[in-house]
């Protein structure tokens, strides 16, 4: 295996990482198994559930269908890297207030996707929030708490901006 390993160099949550990775290893496994960033969860490993959503150069992406070797030179942010992010902080607060999580397994992916919605769609009504979030699955909450949490953050930001 190591014979085929490729060297990559990337940034993970702001820190420089040099690694030698097997070409078939996906980014989710790389982050979880090698970087011990287990906050990124794997719910399907075929690109549908969104639990593994992370940021690559600031854009949401699915780590389970992204090869680690393809991330040479990129900057990766996982949920662990969002501790001090202002939007994520507002979302965590809102998720707790609105019961936007139960088992918490979908939550890291939801937060990353929701952060993107808040930043890109300040005009979103609830149906628009639902459409924008439809790439992420949750089996516990029935989505109501998540929609309400995103609504709360968008409304608060709009009020503060106005």
């Amino acid at each position: 295996m190591s014979a085929h390993a490729k060297s990559i160099s990337l940034t993970v949550n702001g820190a420089r990482v040099e690694a030698s990775v097997p070409p078939r290893q996906h980014l989710g496994d790389f982050l979880r198994e090698r970087e011990l960033l287990t906050g990124t969860h794997l719910g399907c490993e075929h690109g549908v559930c969104g639990a593994c959503t992370i940021l690559i150069d600031g854009e949401p992406a699915r780590s389970c269908i992204t090869f680690a070797v393809a991330c040479d030179g990129r900057s990766i942010t996982t949920v662990e890297g969002l501790d001090d992010d202002p939007v994520a902080t507002e979302l965590r607060e809102a998720f707790a207030a609105e019961h936007g999580l139960q088992c918490g397994f979908c939550t890291p992916g939801m937060l990353v996707a929701a952060r993107d919605v808040v930043l890109r769609r300040p005009d979103a009504d609830n149906p628009a929030i639902r459409t924008a979030m439809s790439g992420n699955l949750c089996r516990c909450t029935g989505y109501v708490g998540i929609v309400n949490a995103i609504r709360r953050v968008i409304d608060a930001r709009n009020t503060n901006a106005g």
Partner: protein, 789 residues
């Protein structure tokens, strides 16, 4: 910030969850997050065929030693899983953790491969060559019960785990009833799909000399019992730990073959091993829930008053009997709960638990109730149609009225409390039925058809000893235990044997304790899900944890309160009368001593204690059982408005209302969350989820692209209306609520669709009600469900 609680932070308060912070920061700890030094990964070779004799297993020379089969496990003394129902006539199946010469469903584990990484273990699995001599397959339960069907277990005379007969002769009613309606009704086979798959890490702890199995389970103590039986290992040599569990819904409420294999290999190799179920494994090997078939007839008078119900019900129980619930829990429930929340006198139900070449059936959220409600509520609407009344009126005609509570129904179910008809009236008002009826009459510009549907159910939960004994389940719950311990700094530690996997118990049990002791929530710590640290429990299933373990927590805390008062009174030199425990302090008149000071006295300054102090100190284990073994009955009416497109068969949910009564709510936010989540799963059952099988028993879905679970845009923004009738039999009057949301949606949505299709003169009776099913009904192809009126 957040909602202002109505009652501080005790019972009834909408407080935020203690578990949220770690989960929101990606700092939870699920099985897949655990890596132990030297750990190996496992991958399973699984059967690609539904029924076959294994004539050979070829392991490439270079992987010998890395691949193990049943021959290895059996030589090591491992025994097959046996879950024997206590009901007379039950046929026993034996399920070896790896196939023993024969496979009986697609996905059954045949061999296990051990390697440094999961990817390498999968490479090895792909290199193992298994020779299968295929056998005829039972892919449909109705075919499997016919004479001459191939047998799943060679030594059985047929393919029926158990046949039961409930109720008596209703021939007279059948002959004389003014109204008779019959239906053929079916629910599909489903996967439960917790977003975290199953997973297990096993190792031998050399220091304490114990097998430690960290597993994504709802019932650590039961897994320990099962492992002990299969591995022939004393329970004292096994510790089962559940870490954060990413949803369960029943799929994690059983002893799994993979747990046995992982445990045995860890001991055999003396190395930690890990297996994590991937999604494809789950969809293929764990399509194990819900599949019912009903031939049902309702008898009624001309007003729609039910006179009797007669049914034959088949449950596809799959290839084996699961531990601990057995292959018959589902059908046993069907027989006893089919009458639903209704008061009628004549009943007969015959059930068959059918053995087929599919994964073994496991109780999924709501268990049989979802299928039963789907059948019974269609019959209520059918009766209403036959007598020309509104379905809600016929419900009111038949529901057990509040003045009859508590009430023993036709199958001797003891309904504890509530106003069932009021839930219907409120649902009718909340959905604004008149408005929809007017809109129906006017017609839609886009040609869609509007329909409104209702479904009412009551849900027995927190089943007690007698109920489980009566269902023949080889795991009868007794008194639930909880430990409560004041820490030396005046905090509180609670230990319970149930396991939270999304239900928020770290918060809600703390609320219960706070209610009794007044200790602030942030100083209360719940320890759960670990056989090494908690009292025995059958675990979290059957909407039981808050009633049973919550009751035990309250009971233990009351005893602690007693002891705290006594020590506190002594420290204040007060007599026992008039001494209160309030707000975290013991008070006598103007004097007060905090729990922290009392704790300090007990642990650090015992010279100050009264001479006759209770020697048990500030640590209590208490057992609890509700006042009735019949459990609690929460209930609800769901009302839904839909638009059905007769051109493309698509259903849009326009409004969804739940009027429910879970008795006293410990945390209304959490109760709402359980209902929202349950309804979402029910929408899946109603409209999307189905594991199709071909005639060879091949599952035809294996990814989320072809097994559809509802997402943000499929699930409605459900409106919930609470009624609050306390149970007379439980602590604080709480009732079980975890499953309820998932019970009624298929029935309510089906009734709404049929209401919409009424002008076309067709009905649908099978779930899921996909566009294909609806268009089929419209085309007159699937109209067989409508019997003679």
């Amino acid at each position: 910030m957040g909602e202002v609680s109505t009652a501080g932070s005790g019972v009834g308060a909408r407080v935020r969850r203690k578990e949220d912070d770690r989960l929101l920061r990606g700092r939870g700890r699920f099985v897949g997050d655990i890596a132990l030094v030297g750990m190996k990964e496992l991958a399973f070779v699984r059967s690609p065929v539904a029924h076959a004799t294994i004539t050979g297993i070829e392991i490439p020379e270079e992987h010998r030693g890395a691949v193990l089969t049943w021959a290895d496990l059996a030589a090591g003394g491992v025994k097959p899983i046996r879950a024997v129902s206590g009901l007379p006539g039950f046929k026993v199946s034996e399920q070896p953790a790896l196939a023993d010469g024969k496979v009986r469903f697609v996905g059954e584990p045949v061999a296990v491969c051990v390697a440094a990484t999961r990817a390498e273990a999968e490479d090895i699995a792909a290199s193992v060559f298994v020779d299968y001599a295929e056998l005829p397959v039972n892919s449909d339960m109705l075919e499997a019960v016919k004479p001459g069907a191939p047998r799943v277990h060679d030594h059985w005379p047929d393919n029926v785990f158990l046949e039961t007969n409930v109720g008596g002769n209703i021939a007279e009613i059948a002959a004389t009833a003014p109204v008779k309606v019959s239906r053929t009704i079916r629910t599909a086979r489903q996967c439960m799909v917790p977003l975290e798959g199953k997973g297990v890490v096993a190792h031998w702890d050399r220091h304490v000399e114990q097998l430690v199995l960290t597993t994504s389970t709802q019932m650590p103590h039961i897994v320990r019992a099962g492992l002990s039986e299969c591995l022939d290992l004393d329970q004292g040599l096994i510790r089962v730990v559940a870490p954060d569990v990413g949803g369960g819904f029943g799929w994690k409420g059983l002893l799994q073959p993979e747990e046995i294999v992982a445990a045995w290999i860890a001991m055999r190799l003396d190395r930690p091993v890990r297996w994590t179920e991937d999604r494809r494994e789950h969809l293929v090997a764990a399509a194990n829930a819900r599949e019912h078939h009903y031939e049902i007839t309702a008898y009624a008078d001309a007003r729609g008053r039910l006179l009797g119900i007669e049914a034959d019900a088949w449950v596809d129980a799959g290839a084996y009997s699961v531990y601990p619930f057995s292959a018959c829990l589902e059908a046993a429930q069907v027989g006893s709960i089919l009458p639903g929340p209704y008061d009628f006198a004549h009943y007969r139900c015959r059930t068959f638990s059918v053995c087929t070449n599919k994964p073994p059936i496991v109780p999924y959220r709501g268990v049989a109730r979802t299928g039963v409600c789907f059948a019974m509520e269609q019959m209520i609407d059918a009766v209403a149609d036959a007598v020309g009344r509104e379905p809600w009126q016929v419900r009111l005609e038949n529901l057990v009225p509040p003045e009859k509570m508590p009430f023993d129904n036709v199958t001797k179910k003891h309904f504890d409390s509530g106003d069932y008809p009021e839930s219907v009236r409120r649902a009718v008002a909340a959905i604004e039925l008149d408005g929809w009826r007017a809109r129906q009459k006017a017609g839609e510009v886009d040609g869609r058809l509007i329909g409104v549907g209702f479904a009412t159910y009551c849900e027995q939960s927190a089943h007690g000893t007698a109920v489980y004994h009566g269902w023949g389940i080889p795991m009868v719950p007794g008194h639930e235990q909880a430990q409560a311990r004041i820490t030396p700094d005046g905090g509180l530690e609670l230990r319970v044997g149930v396991q939270s996997h999304g239900q928020s118990m770290e918060t809600t049990f703390a609320q219960v304790a706070h209610e009794v002791l007044g200790i602030p929530l942030e100083k209360i710590k719940l320890v759960h899900g670990d056989t090494g640290l908690t009292p025995y429990s059958t675990g979290t299933w059957g909407s039981r944890s808050m009633v049973m373990a919550g009751g035990a927590v309250a009971t233990a805390c009351r005893t602690l309160a007693e002891r705290l008062r006594k020590i506190g009174a002594h420290l204040m030199q007060a007599g026992p009368e008039g001494v209160l425990l309030e707000g975290g302090s013991v008070k006598a008149g103007a004097a007060a001593v905090t729990i922290r000071e009392i704790a300090h006295t007990w642990y650090r300054a015992p010279q100050l204690l009264p001479a006759d102090v209770d020697r048990g100190g500030l640590e209590v284990t208490a057992g609890y059982k509700p006042g009735s073994d019949h459990g609690t009955f929460s209930y609800a009416t769901h009302a839904v408005a839909v638009a059905v497109d007769p051109e493309i068969g698509q259903v849009e949910i326009l409004d969804y209302v739940v009027v429910e009564d879970a008795g006293t709510m410990v945390n209304p936010m959490v109760v709402d969350g359980q209902i929202y989540g349950g309804v979402a799963q029910g929408v899946g059952t109603a409209l999307y989820e189905r594991m199709p099988y071909d005639a060879e028993g091949q599952p035809l879905a294996s990814t989320f692209a072809d097994y559809l679970i509802p997402g943000f845009t499929e699930v409605p923004h459900v409106r919930i209306i609470h009624m609050l009738t306390p149970s007379p039999y439980t602590e604080f009057g709480v009732k079980g609520i975890g499953e309820g949301g998932a019970i009624a949606p298929p029935a309510a949505i089906c009734n709404a669709i049929n209401d919409a299709l009424k002008p076309l003169g067709v009905i649908v009776t099978n779930a899921p009600m996909t566009p294909e099913v609806i268009l089929g009904a419209i085309a007159g192809q699937q109209d067989a469900g409508r019997g003679a009126a």
